[in-house]
Each structure stands twice: as structure tokens, then as C-alpha cells.
Symmetry: C2
Subunit: 305 residues, 2 copies
Amino acid sequence: MQEVRVITPATVANVVCGFDCLGFALTEPFDEMTLRRTDDPGIRIINRDEFGLPTKPEENVTGVVAAAALKRAGTDFGLEIEITKHIMPGSGIGSSSASAAGAAVAVNRLLGDKFSKLELVDLAMEGEKLASGSRHADNVAPCIFGGFTLVRSTEPLDVVTLEFPPLWATIIHPQIEIKTAEARAILPKDVPLNTAVKQWGNVGSLVAGLAKGDYGLIARSLEDLIVEPVRKSLIPKFDEVKEASLSAGALGGGISGSGPSIFMLSEGAATAEKVKIEMRSVYSRTDIEFNMYVSELASSGARSL
Amino acid sequence: MQEVRVITPATVANVVCGFDCLGFALTEPFDEMTLRRTDDPGIRIINRDEFGLPTKPEENVTGVVAAAALKRAGTDFGLEIEITKHIMPGSGIGSSSASAAGAAVAVNRLLGDKFSKLELVDLAMEGEKLASGSRHADNVAPCIFGGFTLVRSTEPLDVVTLEFPPLWATIIHPQIEIKTAEARAILPKDVPLNTAVKQWGNVGSLVAGLAKGDYGLIARSLEDLIVEPVRKSLIPKFDEVKEASLSAGALGGGISGSGPSIFMLSEGAATAEKVKIEMRSVYSRTDIEFNMYVSELASSGARSL
């Protein structure tokens, strides 16, 4: 194979009670990427969008992951990587993860599917390290496996794919900047044991609710007693958006990744659209620019076309 | 109905990573209880075992729960309660819970099944309050629902029944006394956030592993980074028992309730019996008396015969 085109979905990590472990893939937005083997060695990056991301391979998430994949495969053919990103960097819905996962999946296709999905997650984590400084898998795991995933451990890497019923996400991305360092610094270093117990009760019951397709249980379990209470201060109108969404019939939701996007889950498309109207209504009364998405949760992740 | 006989199983609470939320029911040991409506008002308790538990209804878990059930039903017929306990009080495998759950289920039968299982758990929690000072549901939930349960919340009460594959438990009960107050006092008040994250990752993946019947995932998830490290010091030879059990093929396990019993889970009866031999071997080299049980996890809880 000489050329491969992949699409890689946006993802939501830190799913409410499941901080640093639960994530899911969306159907849209998604990034597009075309990789071509070239006669010349080295990696050349062409950005076909307006985000102005670096084109030096060692400074670009895609380039770093592609190089890591070639190295691990013990080969070093040349690559041209043409990228059209639709997932805005800094939105909190896995923009860098989509770049990283896309590169891993695309190079793997060119290599004749040498790596397992778990190995692709591991490779994509190299891109996350470049983007955020840490090898985390919260977004790249759902981006590669699709669906709802739980990262049980990163060292060693252990990704659990979860059963889940049809679910729709409504997302609002207020165009403000949240610095990852700030979002990290605001977190408590320690949590009271009894609060932690409630949180892991919710994680367990959310996984059970997803497996059973019990929407009532999913709704009751979408409660975050630890991270949301401190991080929501970084996102204007968070409480209003959440209250309006729940009134419109959303099951629950919270901060996507480390923000600024807010996501809400609904049982069906109609409710998700109602939630969108309510979210828009709240943010229309501010002077903050915003994007919105309504998307069914995707059962498949990054894939070649 | 004038008379009902119930059996109520032993239960394991605080299942490894699932401190204060995960529990399961055993097939044996179990308690037996016969309740009879009497012409005279009031509750009369007859103990047919050698544990010397109180016979005053207001000091006996069974009596307290029976009285609460009658009161909630708005009736007050007289009761004779004949109890043969086989689950030793203080063993850490839900002895008081079996008494509490048995009384709730038995009175409910006499009342013509007036209460739901969730209401029975709520009633049985009155007995736990007498026994331990707090209205907890970790043991009474699996004792009444059977199988593997997750108590998402006690206020309001929210019990989740979990899907699970065939599993066997091997239990050793070293006959030492662990005071609940001491087991509580030794717990950390706060836990580091990153440790709490690992713990809720394990809770989520344990629930997923149970739902999928993925024994490997169950084994990897049976890891407690918070409670076991401090409480195991209260149980002689804990590490040796655990290591020997894992070598014999156990999936994993830990402290049952707040101890002193240790439980290990296995995929089949043959492995569970091998684990028993290893556990016995460790404790035979001490001068501590002990009991042992091998039991399949029970899909049903307390029930009338």
C-alpha cells in the first residue's frame, strides 16, 4: 500500500465521575489525514487547515507518532502527511489525540496492520506526551478503539472496552483558553476517603448502567464530587448550561477533558437537539464565541477509508 | 401465613477495590430462622445456637429489624423468632447482616410480600445500625438481592445488581477479634487523588470484567491500593495467605468486610479447593484457630423455604 486516508473522531475524556479513566468517541467532528509513502526518506507535513500547527515533524503530534511507529516497526520509509483538522486545538474534545491516533492507525495500515489496537494506543501516547507533557491514554484509547473505554492502567497499559447502549452527546465549545497547567493546578492533591468512595461507587454503577443499557442508572451515576466542583469555575456559565441541559432531558454530563468544552449525554437524538437549543440559549446571552456539536457516540474509532 | 422458615447467606463486603460499595453472597455458610405469628403481642427470640446473642428483641438485630418491618407495615402482630446461626459473629462474612436480612425477608413473607427488595435492604440496615452503629448496606444488599451488588448510595439508597460469571470463593476465618472501631481508626482520612483514580479505574474495570465474564480482567482489577495496605496489618499472615492463594490459581481477593476473614475468588471449584489447601497450610503453621469455607457465589439471597 502506498497511500492511506484515515478519519479520526473527536473524543470526550474525564467522563464525569471517571476522571483520568473514562472516555468515549464521537461520530463527529473528525479529522482527516492522508499518508503517502515517498521515495525520499523523512517525514513531510502539509497542513490543509487554518490552525497553523507546526510542520516540523518533531514538533507535530502526527509527525512524532508516525516516526515512533516506523521506528518500532524497524523500518524508515519516507512519508508525506497531509492533514485537514476539523477538531479545533484546545477545545477539550481530543484534538491532539485525533492527530496522534490518526498517525498511528494510518502508518499501521501502510505497514500491513502490524500492530494491535493496544499497541496503537501506546504509540499514540507519544503524541500526547508532545502535546501535554504526559503519556496519557484517556482520549487516544476511545479514539482508536471507538465506543466507551476505560483506561485501567497506563503502566502497564490496560484498556477496557465497555458495552454501552445508544447515546447521543451534545457539546458546546466556548472559545476561551484553559491552560492545562492551570486546570491541573486547581485539582486537590488529596481527597477525603468518603468522597472517593462515593466517586468509585459512581464509576462502578456507570459501567454497570452502560452494560445493562439502564439509562436511569447512567443518569444517577453521572455525578462528579471531586473534579467538577473545582474545575467548573474555569468555564463561564457551567452551572447554567448543566441545569438547562438536565431540564431539557439530558441524562447528565460535565466538563469534556480539562475543558473548556461541556458535554451532555442523552438517550436519543431528539433530546440531544433540545439540549443544544438550551445550551445555545445560555451562551447567546454572553459575548463568548462558541461552537456546538450533536453526535451519536461512535462504536468505531479512527479508521482508514 | 402463620409460619415461615428462611435461610440467609454469608456475604463478603468491601470487595478489594470496592471498599464500602461492592459485595457478594455466598452459597454457604448460611443462617436459619423460623418466624411464627403468635396470639400474644411482642417479639420473643429463641437462639438455637451457641453464640449467646441477646434475646431481648431491642438488643437483637433480628428483633430490631422484625419490629421495624411490622411498624412500617402498620401492623403489630406477635412473633416468635427461632434462630440457628451458623455464621459466627465477628467473622467478617456478614453475620449480623444475615440476621438482619433474614428477619426482613421472613416478616415480609408473613406480610404477603408487601415490601420490595430495596425496601427490605433499607429495613435490614436498621439491624446493621444496632450491630455496628451505622446504617450501611454493603452486606445486607448482597444478602437480600443475592449475587454481586454495588451500593451506589445509601442516602438515598441505590443498590445495583451486577452481572457476573461463575465464581467460587475460598474463605479463611482466623479466630481473632478485630474491633470495628480499630479497623475504622486505621483508615486514612484522605487519599492522594492519583491513588483514588487508580482505585476507581479498578472498580470500573472489575464491574466491566464481571459483566463480560472476562476472568483475566477480573484478576487484574482485584487490586486495593487504599484499604488493604493499612488493614492487612490487623490480620496475621495476610500476605502469605494471599501469595499462596495466587500461586494456587486464585484470581485475587483480600479482606472480607473489615476482617479478620480473608477471601479469594477463583474461576472454578477445583481451583478454589486448591486455594483452601494453601490457606490451611499457611495457618497450620500458626497457633491461631481457624475455619474455612469454599462456596460458589450465590445468585439468590435470603429466601423462604
